[in-house]
């Protein structure tokens, strides 16, 4: 669906985007995460045709979107991190205006806007002035506006910002429904718990570069392996240490009384194999656990620049070790 390669954007001396790569598959709900100033909004504005990059390529369904911006606008529905509404228009007038902006006029426009307003729960608010809508309703109106031309990709920049928990939950459900109906969605957010529950894929950006991208499960699995395995033994500590020192996937070992902290670069399956080996070596294992990974943990690790080097070098070790 969307393929971005080596995207660059420079503001003066500041590199907002520094060779960003991104792939979004058809039908996926892609979470775009990064700290403030990482380059999320710049990327989204380029994807939406509101900003020109200084280099790189953006392809949508195989079409060079930068060479043919009109194609880009046909295929993208853009929901910004603000409402962007005209307070002095009624809800149907606002929708009719944007329908006309997409070249949809007359009866077709009126039918389409009614369907969309019903879909986002504003079917009974047609005659209301936009000014009188709540924040949540305005956000849903914005979502309906972005869907007017039946876009192939819905791009949302922090859509839940400033919404109360209930409205956020309702909005999340609407997004989920849209995705279940087959719409490809790019969703930028700071709310990592929302993204974990909602998204099929995630991309983590920092300093204009994509640090990590893939399915949510893959990413959590990766960070899972970066946490130490805590092994508590009842006896035979020396035997356990001897086995661990010889193990090819063990990176480091530290001992605290009967507890062994092992930096183990293996998957869940390899963890259970290690446990079996320990038991077979006559070690009485009382505890064997690894703290589960989360998207928040991934985000914190990757965007903490001190730790970033550790994680990246670890990733390199991990890959070469396997």
């Amino acid at each position: 669906m969307l393929k971005i390669r080596n995207l660059r954007k420079i503001y003066g001396n500041y590199h907002a985007l520094d060779g960003l790569d991104m792939d979004i598959e058809d039908g996926s709900l892609y979470g775009f995460v990064g700290p403030n100033g990482a380059g999320k909004t710049t990327t989204i504005k380029i994807i939406s045709g509101l900003l020109l990059p200084d280099g790189g390529s953006v392809e949508i369904d195989g079409i060079d979107a930068l060479a043919q911006p009109h194609c880009l606008k046909e295929k993208i529905g853009y929901v910004p991190d603000y409402f962007g509404v005209y307070d002095n228009l009624k809800v149907w007038e606002y929708m009719e205006f944007f329908a006309a902006c997409y070249g949809i006029e007359g009866l077709k426009a009126r039918k389409r806007l009614r369907i969309l307003l019903e879909q986002v729960g504003l079917g009974d608010k047609l005659e209301f002035y936009v000014d009188g809508l709540s924040r949540g309703m305005k956000q849903r109106l914005c979502l309906a506006r972005a869907l007017l031309h039946e876009p192939a990709l819905l791009v949302m920049d922090e859509p839940a910002a400033g919404l109360d928990p209930r409205t956020r939950l309702e909005f999340r459900e609407t997004v989920r429904e849209l995705n279940e109906q087959g719409m490809t969605i790019l969703l930028s957010s700071h709310l990592l718990t929302d993204l974990t529950e909602l998204c099929t894929d995630v991309g983590i950006i920092d300093a204009g570069k994509m640090l990590l991208a893939g399915s949510v499960e893959e990413i959590i699995e990766k960070i899972h392996t970066s946490k130490p395995v805590i092994i508590t033994v009842h006896n035979n500590l020396q035997a356990a240490l001897g086995l661990l020192k010889e193990h090819p996937l063990v990176r480091s070992i530290s001992v605290k009384e009967q507890e062994i902290l092992v930096q183990f670069a293996g998957s869940g399956k390899q963890e259970s194999r290690l446990l079996t080996e320990l038991v077979q070596a006559g070690v009485e294992v009382r505890g064997f656990m690894r703290e589960p990974g989360s998207l928040e943990a991934v985000f914190m690790q990757l965007t903490n620049h001190e730790e970033e080097r550790v994680v990246l070098s670890y990733e390199a070790d991990f890959e070469s070790g396997l």
């Binding site: 509101l50 020109l52 606008k73 046909e74 853009y78 603000y82 962007g84 005209y86 228009l89 205006f97």
Partner: protein, 300 residues
Amino acid sequence: MKLISNPVYRREIRVSSRSFRLALVLLTFNGILALVALLNMYSMLSQVRATAEIQYDSFLDLYMFVAVLEFVMLIFIMPAITAGSISGERERQTLDLMLSTRLTPTQIVLGKLMSSLSTMVLLIVSSFPILALVFVYGGVTMRDMGLLLICYGAAALFSGSLGVFCSALFRKSTLSTVVAYGVMGMIVIGTYGINQLALLFSRMPGEAYLVTTGAGGGGGSSGGFLYLLLLNPTATFVMTMLRLAGREASRGKVTQWFGTHEEGFLSQNWVSCSVVLQIVMAVALIWMAVRAVRPGKKVR
């Protein structure tokens, strides 16, 4: 591009026609004109009763008064209406939303400009019944009216384009309004000022300097600076009014302004040349506004 199919134009017209402000402006503007016109007529009729003498000049003065008032309004209200058009969209954060659709920057700029012009046309057309009072006694031909409307059209287009350009260039409506008024002031008053200064200098002992720079025409005149007035819609309007009042032979000759100048093509076709120049300037300003609105452009 059909104007009526421009969504921005349609939305602007819908919103402005709904607003109480437009009705109030129409009422106030036409109320003042009607009051002045009726008082003027009453005074003339009283004079007729008292002296049995009809002063036809007074009707022409009434016409000129209305025409001048409308012109001043065009020149000074148009920038105010248009200077917030694009920057207002930026402030509301709706410009990006429009640019993310199939709308082109040209459609956005023209939609904004045309809706402002439509409002001005509405004001002018609504004042026609008052202007028509002059036809009771005659003295103004349809040709004169046509010429006046062309003059209005060019001035409105020019001042409106200037407002839209400033609005596209600056992020804040306040700043763009200040700049639009500043530039308009420079054009309206500045060009007169420059000519006045040039005339003063040419009459001073150090005249030789201006003569060598081409500004002094010899014998005390503003020289080549006179043609700066071609940019000034007020100068063109004054010319049109003087021609209408039959004073072209005396003060109506542009070559007699700011000293004596030689007759030439420009001075003989002053109104036409000025109107064409204003339209050209307006087109250039619209083009620059469109460029400033294009996605990715830096805004001050």
